[in-house]
Symmetry: C2
Subunit: 963 residues, 2 copies
């Protein structure tokens, strides 16, 4: 199939609403929903200009100081698309007569939406109707509709009545808080309308926001003589023709919509003089240039390839391009979320343009700079210093009428600055003063928002905030917020220092000590962390909430926000989207692999994905966690979000963030791309059902093409200068014009050994040591209980024994017993000697050494090295993973991951050998093949099981890795 | 002055608005604001019927599932008070002509509001105008206005035009969320008006709530012939008279307002037949009966006495009396808070009626029972079981448009049940089935709201709630809420078991195990407590917030809620009212005296008192904390809240809860009354400037009169059967007709001794022990540091040494050092002998014993008894306060309070002797006189200082106590 277009070959009334959204043509300024030219058969006809809104005071049930003052709503403008066709004496209608054939198509290469209808009226008149529509990327004010009718079978009298429908209106609010406007009176006032020869025009003004709009449509018809009638009161003009059989008439409508004082009639006429063919050619050239970089190819999955292309096309169509507007959450495809700009732009959309069209990324940031004055005022109202960007807005004023999921989301400041940091890092350009100005004002905001709290060890705490996950609100120390605020402060300090070092003028004067204050705050920032679980709690209260009753919640009660009062949601442990997981993705360099795996696993069961921003991040972090099946599942939910109407509300507009997320899931997820402080790395992992993927990125003004299959990846420098890249854990420089190829086929490069039960049997010694301690304290302990201790740490072992005995000890007593156990165990080590090494294990270790395969010892025991010394095998290991240096012992993956990193071998090229269930689980979580010593019953998760070590050989291990 | 009336002898336009509120006449059903009969000179003319409202959908800026659906607003009804006077040809007007004299008076004995005006018009016509007004307590539908005019100096033509003003309207909403209505169209529809002979009438209906109102006014004029004119379109009737000089004409207007289908015209006529004198006599009889019990007398403070009487009068006027309505936050005096009922009724007003008019208390509870069906539905919407009472309502439906300070205040359920428990406890009546039904439904609500949380030691936690203090919202484990919820559950269990034991039918069937579940929850209820501070944090996050910047907050920025965004307030440690302190007052039996003192002191600096519910509780707990000056200061703020218009909004109505609070501050505060589970106790402490107080309480159907001066208190059984009471710590039975008198003059009954430095010098031994430990760990320690250790516990001493050395130790190491110090100290005790007792101290102890004065040893040392044994003075002490059994050591008062309780002596009859600053502070906090051994410089807080113990005698101590 041609994945560079989206269309259908049949007419399905049920898909009408969704299709109007998907068939939108727009250029980031002007947007036409994909409704038909005719009145009939529409769900909601829409015409929008980015940032063109009206406002009214927000009515609150109960108001308070500092509440956002006004709604702002993007307006549905007078509809210039309207053309009504009459065939003979009957209006063309899909609901009557016979539909011989029907197709619609949106072409991503040409940017043209076309429709083809072959239809016979009830009274037997057959016509073929062909319409084409584009909204120009070259001239933002320009749109064209070409409407052709061919008489079939008979000569025919047909009429085309073209109008600008000035009574268009926004959809009105209903119970779903995500849709609908709340105007008390018509927001757009039509000041003037006019009909001249072949031309319709109007002048309008918004009631409260005082914006002006001028529109005109100039008509050009085929040379066939027409009878023309004007309808001034309807702002319509009718062209009637007598067609011979087979003859075609074409009416072309050149539309000019202006908001900046241009002469609409002059422009419409100018576009008509230029003509549709030329306009269409320019459009294609613009798109060629875009696709040149943005084109994605997926061998083996046309549907995903098409969906990704559609998503990119819509993002390009939705993006404000002049630094005066941003990207509405629904682009220019509908009125959902009132046409507001959210953090979605910076956190989801900006990365795409950063790597595919950097000049647009910069324009989006410029919009934020343009609303800095309003953001300063907002900070003042909120008793803060610096600037607080609005949570949702068009004009720059805060429009959120529910502050717990609005103004409380202070993280927007950090999101914007993080996107800016990334954008300039990727392009390699110097940070301009206007970005520095935003960084300073944001840093000031954070410094005034939080406080050093004595009862938190004098750490800097940020209380009463809402993170991206809106299923908890107004919490203390949202981890995402604190992490991103810290990043914001550090970025600010860095750029300010750079300016100072270079003797450059700062855009704002700093107060004495301000830089030092920010540095101090960043260093003292409180990040919630739970030692027991080894995870970052979403906020201070998160671990003290009751779990959401997932099992009692039927499918139709999702999304929860539409079926439960906020208080019910807030008091439970349940997420709309996992914001800590998002932070670990964004700030990838600050967390170990083990942390990412553990936190992703911890939050996943609590995550509803009720937000369309959720799945793409889940997909990326599933990839990071070696969970390719899950990564694929989440990708599928995000890539076709709107095509498959997964949230059931695509009728109200596209989900721009989710669309952007699908690209992220591919690039950051499957290709494992990371850009951390200017270091670009990849770790490609192809989904099972795919044959290959290729895409390009613009990095430091160079263009890199990444192409990978299951077996190998090729990095090519398509344009620009040499570039440093990292493949997995291997750095290399890609020279001009060079291709670099790396194998992705697993190859045994590292073997990670457990100690007890794999190399030597110290289990007996441990058993005896625990037995002696248990006896001393009068605790029950036997071989059954002992089984549970295999492979787990000393602390946990004691916890298991105490739980078995149903007793609770204080910390002091526990420490005492742990020391006694260790003393007993260490004393018993004396009886070990080299002959205690298990059969064939010394040979295996030696053979691995000879084969150049690295080895590491991965034991939860703090005495592992002492044991190896006794066994005289110390020198057979390249590394010893130290349990004291990781967050969590087995069954968590930390030790195995660290061991692989210590020997410098990529995780998937390692094999782990374990005799305990917890150890096998740790290996699997670490993304490695696991060999179990024991029985398949005891170790069901192992990839391969041996009863003892006698059959372990290098060749066997190599074989296991490749199956 | 006559404290049973409130009035003024001059006309002050600036006080007009407040006066309209204060001069309200009402009977709990019908209320007339104290506006003049004439149109001129009014701030806002108001006529209200309790519970008569209209509703409209609440408009939200952003709505969500389960939000309260409708506003409900008490309506300002057609105004029947209107009479316009024309003198000669000119309308009577206070703004023109000459005001010869003016007075207004509200009489609490008669319930009559009267006005006297002597006025001369611009054209020299002089009249005396006399009006009297009452709203009948005997017949709720009845009100009467008597309007007399006397011609002075000349014969005169005068006209009285009487009307019912049907265009009356509510005040409209403005930026202050506490006032104003939001109707989009007139809520009251006038269906019919009528004028017959001497009579005006109308029939009206509310637009949405569908309530009907019928009103009539029947006029009776003096026998002087009148010319009568009717004005149907104005619903007015005019009486014109020709008066001789000195002649008086009187027009009496008998008003009937009905909402339950009575015939308004018949009633008005009936009232007229009865006549004003008889109606007024019945009114006085009703009030006589009320004042018989409710009358308060304060010798030495007429203003407070008057204010308290005014407050009680207004509460009686505001109280719904038929079980169908409750008491609006502003009574029937204005439209503030839309006429809604809040927890104020149960938590502030109900105690008053419980002890002064129990049948009304029961009626208020009956109202809650009447809205149980709506409360069950609300619980269901909120995903809860049982019933959740509305935070604010008229009809029973939740009307709070801001859930964080509305529905999140689940504590309303517990407040209602606590009030019910108190009410029936006080009267001694059996708990009726309808209260049991409410108790069960509330218990079910709590059980479904909270959860057992593993990470909180499996305690039952109630998350995401707002306590009474609305300056924090949606927090976890608000201590007030959890304490009161536990009480609710226990009460429910108790009454259910009682019913079951008595074989009585329960009003609802319980599910299997339900009772057991509630009992379990009550036992496992999590109550936040901070060991370090020894206080109950208001909620889980309270101690982790930054302090409000009080020093940067100018006076005009209070109340904070009008000048700061909620997010700003919520993230700081700042209170509107101290809810934990309230809980300690309500649940007085659950806390030690020391806890109450400490928590009151802890919360006081954070409390703004921005709520009118704050000061009275502060006053009570200041009294409890021996802080009589503070108690007085808070009392003054609450008792004249509306008379002095302290919050600047008395124009919008009285503050019923604050009015009730003033009575509470007197009875619970100054008289120290407590009613804990049917035990009635008193601890009178007269404010300095007063001579005596007396008041009555109805307890168990008996009436007790309490009269106290500074010197003594007398308890008299005025009516009813014998009753057990407690004076301070002394129980007694008050027999029929008996008076019991107790002295309040301090008398030395107990002496509390510190050990080190007072009886013996072990300070040196401690010093040496600490020195040896410090040396062992290489810590700096000298005599300067040692000074800081005087009188403080071992743990704190070590903390001081570590802090001095700027080192942090773990718990284990600290324990070790503490044990070592103790071992060293105990070993050194061996050298002590009886001759080490300080000079004269053995004699003093012996003399105290002979004089029958109790003694106790109050030492922070765990070795105190061992020392006494060595000194052979063990048998000279009646008690030893054990530091291990109190929450906090010195300088907290716990040890001294416990010592006094151990020897059974009231705190104020004890003297404490101490040589350390911390010890003196502890004694003072415990409300005792403190004798310091040392210098006045070192011990500035001591009441008396001696350089050593040689001069200490029984007589000296007795003298100190009495100065």
């Amino acid at each position: 199939m041609d994945t560079m277009q989206f269309g259908s070959d049949w007419y399905d009334e049920n898909l009408m609403a969704r299709n109007e959204t998907l068939f939108t043509t727009a250029n980031g300024y002007l947007g036409f929903r994909g409704d038909f030219e005719e009145k009939e058969g529409s769900y909601h006809k829409g015409t929008y200009i980015n940032g063109f809104f009206d406002s009214e005071p927000i009515v609150y049930g109960e108001t308070a100081f500092g509440y956002a003052k006004n709604h702002e709503t993007i307006l549905n403008l007078p509809d210039p698309k309207r053309i009504e066709l009459t065939v003979g004496k009957r209006p063309f209608s899909l609901k009557r007569g016979t539909l011989n054939s029907f197709s619609r198509n949106l072409d991503f290469h040409t940017g043209v939406l076309s429709r083809f209808v072959d239809w016979t009226s009830e009274d037997g008149n057959r016509v073929v109707l062909c319409s084409r529509r584009l909204v120009s990327f070259i001239d933002k004010n320009c749109a064209v509709i070409e409407y052709s009718v061919t008489a079939k079978g008979n000569p025919l009298h047909i009429c085309l009545r073209s109008s600008i429908e000035v009574t268009s209106d926004n959809r009105s609010a209903n119970e779903d808080p995500r849709v609908g406007s709340k105007f008390s009176s018509r927001p757009l006032l039509i000041l003037e309308t006019g009909i001249e020869e072949n031309q319709l025009s109007f002048i309008a003004k918004t009631r409260n926001s005082n914006l002006s709009l001028r529109g005109a449509a100039f008509h050009v018809s085929s040379t066939i003589p027409a009878r023309i009638t004007k309808f001034p009161s309807d702002l319509a003009i009718e062209y009637c023709f007598d067609l011979e059989e087979g003859e075609t008439v074409t009416l072309t409508k050149y539309i000019a919509y202006c908001t900046e004082g241009d002469d609409e009639r002059f422009l419409a006429h100018k576009f008509a003089s230029k003509g549709f063919p030329l306009i269409a050619r320019e459009q294609k050239e613009y798109l060629d240039s875009f696709w040149n970089l943005a084109r994605i190819r997926i061998e083996g999955d046309d549907l995903s390839e098409q969906a990704l292309q559609l998503n990119l096309f819509h993002l390009l169509q939705s993006c404000g391009k002049e630094g005066k507007t941003s990207m509405a959450a629904k682009g220019l495809t509908g009125e959902g979320y009132e046409g507001h700009y959210f953090w979605d732009t910076e956190s989801y959309v900006l990365p795409i343009f950063t790597y595919l069209k950097p000049e647009l990324a910069e324009q989006l940031l410029k919009y934020r700079y343009s609303i800095l004055p309003q953001s300063r005022k907002r900070a003042e109202t909120m008793n803060l210093k610096g600037a607080l960007f609005p949570w949702r807005t068009i004009s720059g004023n805060e429009c959120s009428a529910y502050f717990p999921a609005g103004t409380a989301q202070y993280h927007i400041d950090a999101d914007i600055l993080f996107a800016a940091q990334k954008c300039f890092n990727a392009s390699g350009k110097e940070i301009p003063p206007w970005i520095v100005e935003m960084a300073i004002e944001s840093a000031r905001m954070w410094a005034s928002l939080g406080s050093y709290v004595a009862s938190k060890g004098n750490r800097f705490c940020i209380n009463e905030v809402t993170g991206p996950d809106e299923y908890t609100a107004c919490v203390d120390n949202n981890a995402y917020t604190n992490l991103m605020a810290r990043e914001n402060l550090l970025f600010c300090c860095e750029v300010v220092k750079k300016y100072q070092d270079q003797g450059k003028q700062l855009p704002l004067e700093l107060r004495t000590g301000e830089l030092h204050q920010w540095q101090g705050i960043a260093e003292a920032m409180y990040i919630p962390f739970d030692k027991e679980l080894g995870i970052y709690p979403q906020d201070d209260s998160f671990l003290f909430k009751a779990d959401w009753p997932f099992f009692d919640t039927p499918r139709e009660k999702y999304p929860l926000l539409l079926h439960y009062h906020p208080l019910v949601i807030y008091r439970h442990r349940v997420l709309k989207q996992p914001d800590l997981v998002l932070a670990q993705f964004l700030l990838s360099g600050l967390f170990t692999k083990a942390e990412k795996i553990r936190n992703f696993a911890f939050y996943e069961p609590y995550t509803t994905g009720d937000s369309s921003l959720s799945h793409c991040i889940q997909s990326i972090m599933a990839s990071e966690s070696f969970q390719s099946v899950k990564a694929w599942w989440y990708f599928k939910k995000t890539v076709r979000m709107d095509i498959d109407d997964i949230h059931g509300n695509s009728a109200d507009g596209i989900h721009t963030a989710s669309m952007a997320g699908s690209w992220m899931a591919l690039v950051y997820g499957f290709a494992g791309f990371r850009d951390w402080k200017g270091t670009f790395s990849f770790n490609p992992q192809l989904p099972d059902s795919w044959k290959s993927v290729s895409f390009c990125l613009s990095l430091r003004s160079s263009v890199v093409k990444i192409h990978f299959t299951k077996e190998e990846v090729t990095y090519s420098l398509v344009a620009g200068k040499a570039l440093s890249l990292i493949h997995r854990n291997e750095s290399f420089v890609l020279e001009e014009g060079e291709n670099r190829c790396f194998s992705l086929v697993p190859a045994l490069e590292g073997v990670l050994f457990d100690l007890d039960g794999v190399i030597v049997d110290t289990a007996k010694l441990h058993y005896l040591a625990w037995k002696s301690v248990s006896d001393r304290y009068g605790l029950a302990f036997d071989t059954e209980v002992n089984k549970k201790l295999l492979g787990v740490s000393r602390d946990t072992s004691l916890a298991i024994i105490l739980e078995h005995n149903k007793v609770v000890w204080d910390e002091e007593k526990k420490q005492q017993a742990l020391e006694q156990k260790n003393e007993a165990y260490v004393a018993s080590l004396d009886i070990l000697s080299p002959k205690d090494v298990f059969p064939k294990m010394r040979e295996l270790l030696q053979n691995l050494q000879h084969a150049g395969i690295y080895t590491a010892l991965v034991s939860a025991s703090k005495n592992a090295k002492a044991v190896c010394a006794k066994l005289q095998i110390l020198d057979l290991f390249d590394a010893f993973a130290d349990v004291r240096k990781v967050q969590k012992s087995k069954p968590e993956p930390d030790l195995f991951l660290v061991a692989a990193e210590q020997i410098g071998v990529w995780y998937s090229n390692c094999i782990g050998i374990e005799d305990a269930k917890a150890g096998i689980q740790a290996i699997k979580k670490a993304g490695m093949k696991a060999v179990g010593i024991g029985t398949a019953e005891e170790l069901p998760e192992a990839d391969y099981v041996l009863v003892d070590t006698t059959k372990l050989t290098v060749e066997l291990l190599q074989g296991i890795l490749n199956t």
